[in-house]
């Protein structure tokens, strides 16, 4: 039924558009792209506003890749060690911020030990934001140095991974705040990241998931397990690594939203703060904008065919 209505509406729209294009071919042929910009702005702004006001979100259904990420983390037990590598910056916070939030929330509710690390200079700020936003207010019982810690940023890109995969203390003598590593209780016995039970990477590009796979997972397939969340651009590149090197992957805001719904449905309870629903909220503008994109593609083709027909006639 839903299909029929949608198909009907689309067909109606297309017919109308075809007539419009025929009537005003010149206008559509040289369509000022600013009209498209305006449509896009409206398509995103209106749902952002409406959802921001009503706080209603679309239902989400988790697909296998997000489910796999969730399952891998679910398999861990209280006290297991997780390395959270935040390799992104404010530019891609729209996509990756919700993932980072949900990862931290999931790990914190499961009482995993969290080790934050960043290969991007600004990643360090993302870690601090995350701690200030999630752990400090909502998990006040967690103690820095015992339940979570911040290794901070180290320059050197994949070189850093290459070293810490066998010897973490060679590069990290202090944590992000200048405390001697040896004085931090949860660093006891951690000589390399092979001691981690899982690596979670949130990545916006280089260095990121690909480098973690190449330099950490590939050489130590039995000792290092990893799941990742990445931007839409990167996702297709990482598919060849699934499932051997990468059991699960959250791709862009959609993946974030699926994972978020899994975590919140299981642990969130009824009265969950809006900050944990960010990805699902963002799927609203996403839906409208995607539909707009599809209609634009249709429209472009109608213009193309009408034009071609006209040219053939003349």
């Amino acid at each position: 039924m839903a299909l029929l209505i949608t198909l009907g509406a689309t067909a109606g729209f297309l017919v109308l558009l075809t007539f419009a294009v025929r009537a005003r071919t010149e206008f559509f042929k040289n369509l000022d792209r600013r009209w498209i910009f305006l449509l896009m702005l409206v398509a995103v702004a209106v749902p952002v506003y409406v959802i921001g006001k009503t706080k209603e979100t679309f239902p989400e259904k988790a697909l296998p890749k997000a489910q796999a990420v969730f399952d891998v983390i679910e398999e861990l037990n209280e006290g297991d060690k997780v390395l959270l590598a935040f390799d992104f910056d404010p530019g891609s916070e729209g996509e990756l911020g919700p993932m980072a939030t949900t990862f931290a929330y999931h790990c914190a509710t499961k009482k995993l030990k969290m080790y934050f690390i960043a290969l991007w200079p600004i990643g360090r700020q993302m870690i601090d934001d995350n701690i200030a936003k999630i752990i400090e207010p909502d998990f006040p019982e967690m103690v820095y140095g015992v339940d979570y810690m911040n290794l901070g940023f180290k320059a050197g890109n994949e070189g850093v991974i290459n070293v810490i995969v066998t010897d973490i203390k060679q590069l990290y003598t202090t944590d992000a705040y200048g405390t001697d590593i040896a004085a931090i209780p949860m660093m006891e016995g951690i000589d390399s990241i092979q001691k981690m039970d899982l690596i979670i990477n949130v990545s916006a590009g280089y260095p990121g998931t690909k480098e973690w796979v190449q330099y950490a997972v590939t050489p130590f397939p039995h000792d290092i397990r990893m799941v990742a969340g990445c931007t839409g651009v990167q996702a297709p590149l990482l598919y060849p690594y699934i499932p051997q090197q990468l059991p699960g992957l959250l791709a862009a805001i959609k993946g974030a939203s699926e994972y978020e719904s899994l975590v919140i449905n299981k642990y969130g309870g009824d009265d969950i703060s809006g900050k944990y629903l960010e990805a699902q909220r963002r799927m609203g503008p996403q839906l409208v904008a995607h539909v707009l994109m599809v209609l634009l593609i249709f429209a472009g083709n109608i213009i193309f065919f009408v034009e071609r027909k006209r040219e053939a006639r003349s």
Partner: protein, 235 residues
């Protein structure tokens, strides 16, 4: 001296790195050199920053078109540099309070550097990035026209994935039961199939090709066949 020494340096360094990979004792050399490179790139900021100042100062002194904007660039550059390098307004490190502000974090919350980052750098970076939302729309409108088989495949794939990755995809093909043998035809599952199979195939081939291309370009440089990076040999 001007061309042969550097060429020799490149050749030796390159082949040493290749051989080192197979010898356990030397396998970490590559990491050391990577760190050195990052240091060199940091030192090179003096060249870049100097060039930036030179270009804009020249514009200002020539009163070239738009020289007023060059003043903004110069002032912004110098202010940010000063605030950051002097750690202006940064609190001491609570671990070492006696050390003064030099031991603090250069981007501490509340410091002027942080303020500039939050209210200028961050919104500008994120907004320029966000402009892509508009550009993808206009590119799709213009370029995705069914001119030939290639274009049809491009646009059809984009079409399926765009729909399949939102609630619309689930909604549209909801009538196909999930447990039935046809569940593969549900839009979200078509998306997954395209990604897993066609996309993987394409990317795998591209990756293999890129690896070969990289190896070949590297070899050409290491054999001295391609020397365009070395310049002319003139001073």
């Amino acid at each position: 001296m001007k061309r042969n020494v550097p060429l020799l340096l490149a050749i030796i360094a390159g082949f040493v790195m290749i051989v080192a990979f197979f010898i356990p004792y030397t396998v970490s050399w590559g990491e050391d050199v990577s760190i050195w490179f990052d240091i060199l790139a940091s030192i090179a900021f003096i060249l870049g920053g100097g060039n930036l100042l030179k270009v804009h100062l020249k514009k200002v002194s020539d009163q070239a078109k738009g020289w007023g904007y060059s003043i903004i660039t110069i002032v912004a550059f110098l202010v940010m540099l000063f605030v950051g390098l002097t750690k202006l307004g940064v609190n001491p490190n609570p671990q070492f309070p006696g050390h003064g502000h030099w031991a603090g974090q250069y981007n501490e919350v509340g410091s002027p550097f942080y303020w500039l980052f939050e209210s200028v750098f961050k919104p500008l970076q994120a907004t320029i990035f966000a402009m892509l939302a508009f550009y993808v729309a206009s590119a799709a409108f213009r370029a995705f026209r069914a001119k030939n088989m290639e274009a049809i495949l491009l646009l059809a794939t984009a079409f399926f994935i765009l729909l399949g990755r939102t609630a619309a995809g689930v909604f549209l093909t909801d009538f196909i039961p999930e447990e039935s043998g046809y569940s593969g035809l549900r839009l979200e599952n078509i998306t997954v199939f395209i990604m897993d199979v066609f996309n993987t195939a394409g990317h795998r081939a591209i990756m293999i090709g890129v690896a070969l291309g990289t190896a070949s370009v590297s070899l050409k440089i290491l054999l001295g066949v391609d020397r365009s990076y070395l310049g002319s040999g003139e001073g």
